[in-house]
């Protein structure tokens, strides 16, 4: 069995999952929460890697697509009483549908125009919640997937359960994306990214390839959004701000935008930054002003350093065909 075959990847995913879930029983609640955060951010960042790194399109509005997914999941769960795994899938599907519509426009736009359009989306979509009563306004809507089923074990903390759900989702997404990228779709996207004209001459429908990439990327972001809603226990406009969109892009840049595996590293860095800055200030005894502004400073410095010293992304172990 080759290591790169879909089946091999499936077993590798299961092995990684088993190890992670075993670890989850050995760490405290805070680490479980952070673990779940990492898994969710990794999914969200991988959606940007798929879009930017593989199809050459840019989006500053993935936070908004997460909001679409999150709100959809919460609405179907509360109004249709559907079980939450289905709510998550619908969150992804609605995110994908929104991405499809956006993708049709996006395929005709490039560079700064595409960035501007998606930026407008990031600003506009969350504030829609204030226009429609069903979306709960500024206060948002609560979302509760409940505790772990009893057969899994007693004393299973809420955050540990979130960690399990998020990790299973993340591994599934990775397995799917990894396989997809080694099919002809993946090759087409890379061709489009490298040189759209050459790709068109080679018989690739560039527009179609771009729309497909946008749709898939948005579906993944939508799923990440519904998992994010699970973690926060609510959806609210303030939870899907422009800052979230920029945070994801920062994660993708730190990860190296064309490296799927790197998105895990990006997610770990994003979650670790507040932790690191917290321990720095507690050692140095800084004021509250320093404490609250240090995470932003660290993120910015890392971002600038990455762009200056490793413009193609840090050299995480990469695959040859990338």
């Amino acid at each position: 069995m080759k290591l790169k075959s879909p089946r091999a990847r499936f077993f590798i995913s299961i092995a990684i999952g088993a190890v992670l879930l075993f670890i989850s029983g050995r760490v405290d609640e805070l680490r479980s929460y952070q673990g779940a955060q990492v898994a969710i951010f990794a999914i969200a960042i991988s959606s940007i890697v798929l879009l930017t790194g593989f199809s050459g399109q840019i989006s500053l509005g993935h936070g908004a697509l997460m909001a679409v997914g999150g709100y959809s999941a919460v609405l179907v769960q509360s109004h249709l009483n559907l079980p939450y795994p289905i709510a998550f899938l619908i969150g992804g599907a609605v995110g994908g549908a929104a991405g499809f519509l956006l993708g049709i426009a996006a395929a005709r736009l490039q560079g700064p125009y595409l960035a501007g359009t998606t930026l407008a989306l990031a600003v506009g979509i969350p504030s829609l919640a204030n226009q429609f009563h069903i979306l709960g306004g500024e206060q948002g809507l609560t979302f509760d997937i409940g505790t772990a089923p009893s057969w899994i074990g007693k004393d299973f903390s809420q955050y540990r359960w979130f960690f399990w759900v998020a990790v299973v989702a993340a591994l599934l997404i990775y397995w799917l994306l990894r396989n997809l990228l080694s099919t002809r779709y993946g090759r087409r996207w890379r061709a489009v990214r490298a040189n759209p004209t050459a790709a068109a001459l080679a018989g690739i429908n560039v527009g179609k390839a771009k729309v497909l990439a946008f749709t898939l990327s948005s579906a993944v972001a939508g799923l990440a959004g519904s998992l994010y809603a699970m973690l926060l226990g609510l959806v609210a406009p303030l939870a899907f701000t422009l800052t979230l969109s920029f945070t994801l892009i920062t994660g993708a840049v730190l990860a190296g935008v064309s490296n799927l595996g790197g998105s895990i590293v990006g997610a770990v860095v994003l979650v670790a930054i507040p932790e690191i800055s917290g321990s720095i200030t507690s050692h140095l005894g800084g004021s509250e002003k320093v404490t609250s502004n240090l995470p932003g400073l660290i993120t910015s410095v890392l971002l600038v350093a990455t762009v200056l010293f490793a413009p193609n992304g840090p050299k995480w172990p990469q695959r040859k065909h990338q």
Binding site: Y33, N130, E138, Q139, G233, A236, L238, L244, E288, S292
Partner: protein
Amino acid sequence: MLVQRRTKGGIFAAALTAVATLVASALPAHAETGVSSSTIKLGITVPLTGAAAPGYNKIPAAMKAYFDYVNANGGVNGRKIQLVVKDDAYSPAQTLSVTNDLILKDKVFALVGTLGTANNEATTRLVNSHGVPRLFVNTGFSGFADMKKYPTTFPLFPSYATEAKAMGKYIADNLAGHKVALIYQDDDFGADALKGFATAGTSFVAKIPYSALSQADPSVVGKWVTSIVSAQADTVIMFGVTSATGALAGGLYKAGLIGKVQMILGSVGSDGTTLKGLLGPLAPALAGSIAASFLPSPSDATDEYVNLFKTVNTQYNPGATFDNNVLVGMNTAMLTVQALRAAGTSPTRASLVKAIEAKGSTWASAAFSPILFCAKSHVGYTGYWFGKLGLDGNAVSVDGPGKYTLYTTDSGSAPVVKTAAARPAMPAKGLPNN
């Protein structure tokens, strides 16, 4: 040989650690989380950065100052109070994240004065599952008094519904016939207010909702002014945070409407000093605005609580201007100290909640309103007085300095009652002796 000895030493150390850990974990838990023999650790989340920060970012320092004052005078049953402060930038996601840190990493005994309606809502699941007492939350959302949904949460401030009802009564008594417009933050904060005004029977020529933090956008403020002008309103109620009041005053000034439109400010958005900081030379534009408050005016030199808090502020919080936010912080801290004292010499989270329910209504506090805490209710203050902002930004009671008429009611359908203000006398030196 040396290597072997080291290994042996290592094994010995490891074994010792393991035994020590086992013994430690087998010992009965003596102390409650966050309580040691010499300290009690509390936590607070507030916006220290971002659009909602001005004003509120002064509250934690004021609380710390009062705790330091109590600590310097023996603490609570010999324990010193520590306050861990976390910035949430008014974002519920951030609030949950830092509250995780407070409860799971810093292991605080209780949360106190956590700010924001959606922010407190986001951490409710965590707070409830760990049974963490959440004292005197800094929001007037009446829902937090629901003891089934929030068994360990104690709102202190009168609810926004109470405030709106009191304001409605004040308008009916003093400003009958005026054309009133209402600007409100479009969340539970504003919804609560709308409910109160509806009960009071106040009618509006315009109702203008805005989403939280959008007051930083000049075009939003432009829309408010346009709506006020097109509805021909001569009175406008601002039911929002302080930065929104500042934005409104700036907008009215630019439109040349100062003096033509009477502003009525909710207690959340009427701190004079913060407004002065936000508005700079425009600050006098606010003079004459009517403001609702439950605490005494920070400029009232005849008030014993105000005078004590001022002294504490000078000594333990040097450089901070004494204003409503400092007053709120110190008053919250004073009630917290009484709650901790009442929780007993070995306080637990459960004993703290019980103590507030059993004795909270008798405690000393600067507000003129009675406190209603009991085993059946987690409602704190219930009343407001009305004042006019002077040129210094501080409110002076409409009945004259030092005289306060209280408008008392509930969040439901009870009528608004006007009474003369009364409250427990301050304990000697402002140090609780309950």
